[in-house]
C-alpha cells in the first residue's frame, strides 16, 4: 500500500463527512489566517517604527534636559531648563566624535499672513539642523551661519504652513508675522510627514539667535536655555560621541554622581532599540493571540478525529479483519488529520495574505507579510495535524478487531 493510496483512503474518509471536515478546516483556517494577519500587523508596526527612527536623521544624538531618578524612573525629563546654548557650543568645540551640533528652542505662536492666521510651532535652531535631521529646504533655502550671527529676521516654513497660510503662490519672498514680529520667508521645507508623533511639516524654522532676540524674551546671553540639542556623530563613532558629550556635560554641570545627571544623551541606536523592544512586545502579544486561536483549531481537529474514530470503529474493525496493519490504520487517520489541517493552513494563508493587504488598504495600517511567516504557518498547520491527529489515530490503530467489529 503506497503513499498515494493511503492519501486516497484518508481523502475518502474526509469526504465521507464533508460538513464536519469543512468546519474543522475552518477552525484551522481562522487560526492560520489570524497568525498571518497579526504577524503582518506586528511586522508592519516594526518596520514603520524603524523607518521613523531612520527618518529622525543621520548618526543622530539627542540630548535633552531632565533627570533619571534612582532606579531608572524618569522624573520630568525634558522639562527642567538645565541645558543651555553654551552647552551646545562647548560640545561643538570639545567633543572630537561630534561632527555637527544644532541646539533647538521651540514654542507655539500665532502666525499671520495677510488675512489668515494660524497657531504653529516655531522651531529656533541652527543651520546644521538640516544635515543632522536629513531634512532640507525644497524651495528657497535654509538660513545660514551669517544670518545666525546677524540675528536676521528670516524664516523657513514647513509644507503644511505654506499651504495653510499662503496657498498656491510661491511663499519665498513673502513676509509673515510671528507674534507680531515681521519675518522674511526665505524657504519652504520638503514634505516629511509624521515623525515620532509630530507633524514635521507644521512648523517654522528661524535662527536660534533671532528667536532669543525677538520671540522668547531671553536677553542675558549666558542664560539662554535650550529645549534640546541635536548632535551628529562622525560615522561609526556614535557611542564615543555619547561618552564625550556625557562627560563634558557632567563636568560643566558639576555632577559627580551619574544618578544625578540633569540631562540625557541618547543615540539613534538607543532610540531604535527602544522602538524595537516596544514593537517586539506588540508582535509577541499579537502572535500569542493568534497562537491561541490556532491551538483551539488544533483541539478541534483532535475532537473531530476522536469522534470520527468512535464513529468508524466498525470500519476500522473491517479493515483490520481484512489485513490492515497497525501502521496502515495509524497513517490513514494521521494523514486525514494532516490533510484537514493542511487544507486549513493553505486556505488560511490565502485569507491571511489578502486580509493583511485589506487592512493595509482600508484601515491604512501598514502590514508586512514576510515569506518566513507564510512558511512558518504552513509548517505549523501540518505540525498541528500531526500533533493532534496522532492520539486519535493511535486509538484507532490499537483497536482489537473483534471488539471493533462488534461495536455498533
Amino acid at each position: 500500500m503506497n503513499a498515494l493510496e493511503l492519501l486516497s483512503v484518508a481523502w475518502q474518509g474526509i469526504l465521507s463527512n464533508r460538513l464536519r471536515s469543512a468546519l474543522t478546516v475552518l477552525g484551522i483556517l481562522i487560526g492560520i489566517a489570524s497568525v498571518i494577519t497579526l504577524l503582518g500587523i506586528g511586522q508592519g508596526a516594526k518596520e514603520e517604527a524603524e523607518s521613523q527612527v531612520q527618518a529622525l536623521g543621520v548618526n543622530l544624538i539627542y540630548i535633552r534636559p531632565g533627570s533619571v531618578g534612582a532606579g531608572g524612573i524618569s522624573m520630568g525629563k525634558g522639562t527642567a531648563p538645565t541645558l543651555t546654548y553654551d552647552d551646545a557650543l562647548a560640545i561643538k568645540e570639545n567633543c572630537k566624535a561630534v561632527k555637527e551640533v544644532a541646539a533647538q528652542y521651540s514654542q507655539s505662536f500665532q502666525v499671520q499672513y495677510g488675512e489668515k492666521n494660524t497657531m504653529t510651532q516655531i522651531n529656533a535652531t541652527e543651520p546644521a539642523y538640516t544635515d543632522i535631521r536629513n531634512f532640507f529646504a525644497d524651495r528657497g533655502r535654509f538660513f545660514t551661519d551669517q544670518e545666525m550671527a546677524d540675528t536676521a529676521r528670516v524664516c523657513v516654513i514647513g509644507d503644511t504652513v505654506a499651504n495653510d497660510l499662503i496657498g498656491e503662490e510661491n511663499p519665498v519672498g513673502k513676509q509673515l508675522l510671528i507674534r507680531g514680529e515681521l519675518f522674511d520667508v526665505i524657504g519652504v521645507m520638503e514634505k516629511k510627514g509624521m515623525t515620532q508623533n509630530m507633524d514635521m511639516d507644521d512648523q517654522i524654522f528661524i535662527p536660534l539667535t533671532t528667536g532669543y532676540a525677538t520671540l522668547f524674551g531671553l536677553n542675558t546671553i549666558s542664560g539662554k536655555t535650550v529645549k534640546n540639542i541635536l548632535a551628529q556623530s562622525i560615522d561609526g563613532e556614535d557611542w564615543q560621541a555619547q561618552f564625550q558629550i556625557t562627560n563634558l556635560l557632567r563636568l560643566r554641570h558639576n555632577i559627580q554622581n551619574p544618578e544625578l545627571d540633569d540631562f540625557m544623551v541618547r543615540t539613534q541606536m538607543d532610540i531604535m532599540q527602544t522602538a524595537q523592544s516596544i514593537t517586539g512586545v506588540f508582535s509577541l502579544l499579537l502572535g500569542a493571540t493568534a497562537g491561541i486561536s490556532l491551538l483551539v483549531g488544533g483541539i478541534g481537529i483532535m475532537n473531530i478525529m476522536l469522534v470520527s474514530v468512535t464513529e468508524r470503529t466498525r470500519e476500522i474493525g473491517v479493515r483490520k479483519a481484512l489485513g490492515a496493519k497497525y501502521g496502515q490504520i495509524l497513517s490513514q487517520f494521521v494523514i486525514e488529520a494532516v490533510l484537514i489541517s493542511g487544507c486549513g493552513g493553505l486556505l488560511g494563508i490565502c485569507l491571511g495574505v489578502s486580509g493583511s493587504s485589506f487592512i493595509s488598504n482600508v484601515a491604512d495600517w501598514p502590514t508586512v507579510v514576510t515569506p518566513s511567516s507564510i512558511v512558518l504557518s504552513a509548517v505549523v498547520s501540518v505540525a498541528i495535524g500531526l500533533f493532534f491527529g496522532i492520539y486519535p489515530a493511535r486509538k484507532a490503530a490499537k483497536l482489537d478487531p473483534i471488539v471493533a467489529l462488534r461495536s455498533e
Binding site: E5, V9, R314, G317, R319, A324, K325
Partner: protein, 230 residues
C-alpha cells in the same frame, strides 16, 4: 499435516460482571481441502470458534497451530498478514463498508495485500462474477438486497484466493436457489484445494459438506466425517 490444529482451546470473556466461557477446551484438527460445517444452537460458541480459527481473536488458554505455526508467538501485524493472505472471512453480519461500492469493498483485501490497482480491479470483478453479481458492481451495500450483500461479502473473502475460507452463516439470507449456487461455488473452491469451514443452521447446507462438527456450550459435542464432497 493439519491446516488447523486446536488443542484444549478456551475463550473466556472476562469483561462483564461474570466471565462468559464461550469456548471450553476445544480440540479440533482440520486437514487441507476439507469441507466442514459447524452446527449448534445460538450462543453455543460457533462464531467465537470461527474468530479464533480466522486469527481475528486469540485463545484465552490452549494452543492453536495454523499450518503448524503457533499463533501465540505471532505479533498483531503478523496476524493481520495471515488474515489478509491465508484466511478469507465471511462475517455473519457481512460487515461491508457502506461508503464504498461493492467493487471497492471487494478490492479492500487486495489493497492491503499490496496488489497494484489495475490487477486489483480485474481480480475483484472476477470474484464478483463468481458470485453472480457482475451487474451490481458499482452499487453501494445499501442499494443491494441482503442476499446480494452476502454475495459481495463472499466475493471479498475469496478475492485473495486464501487457503482457508471461513463463512459464518453464508446462506442465511439467501433463497434456496441462490443458496444452492453459493454452495456449488464452495464445492468448486474445495475441489480447487481450498479448505472451507462454514457455520450453518440449515441441515441441507450442512449436508453438502463432508464433515459436521456439532457445538454446544463451548464444547464439541459430535464430529461426524462423511464421504466425499457432493
Amino acid at each position: 499435516m493439519n491446516v488447523i490444529d486446536l488443542d484444549d482451546v478456551w475463550r473466556i470473556y472476562a469483561e462483564g460482571a461474570e466471565p462468559v466461557y464461550a469456548l471450553q477446551g476445544v480440540n479440533l484438527t482440520i486437514k487441507p481441502g476439507e469441507y466442514a460445517a459447524i452446527v449448534g444452537t445460538s450462543g453455543s460458541g460457533k462464531s467465537t470458534l470461527m474468530n479464533i480459527i480466522g486469527c481475528l481473536d486469540r485463545p484465552s488458554k490452549g494452543t492453536y497451530l495454523l499450518n503448524g505455526i503457533d499463533i501465540k508467538n505471532r505479533s498483531d501485524d503478523e496476524l493481520a498478514t495471515i488474515r489478509n493472505k491465508t484466511v478469507g472471512f465471511v462475517f455473519q453480519q457481512f460487515n461491508l463498508l457502506g461508503s464504498m461500492s461493492a467493487l471497492k469493498n471487494v478490492m479492500l483485501p487486495l489493497v492491503y495485500a499490496g496488489i497494484p490497482g489495475k490487477e486489483r480491479k480485474m481480480r475483484a470483478e472476477l470474484a464478483l462474477k463468481e458470485v453472480g453479481l457482475e451487474n451490481r458492481m458499482h452499487h453501494r451495500p445499501n442499494e443491494l438486497s441482503g442476499g446480494q450483500q452476502q454475495r459481495v461479502a463472499i466475493a471479498r473473502a475469496i478475492v485473495n484466493r486464501p487457503s482457508i475460507l471461513l463463512a459464518d452463516e453464508p446462506t442465511g439470507a439467501l433463497d434456496s436457489t441462490t443458496a444452492g449456487e453459493i454452495m456449488d461455488l464452495f464445492g468448486r473452491l474445495v475441489v480447487e484445494g481450498m479448505t472451507v469451514i462454514i457455520v450453518t443452521h440449515d441441515p441441507e447446507t450442512a449436508g453438502r459438506s463432508n464433515r459436521i462438527i456439532k457445538v454446544r456450550d463451548g464444547k464439541i459435542l459430535e464430529d461426524i466425517v462423511m464421504g466425499k464432497v457432493s
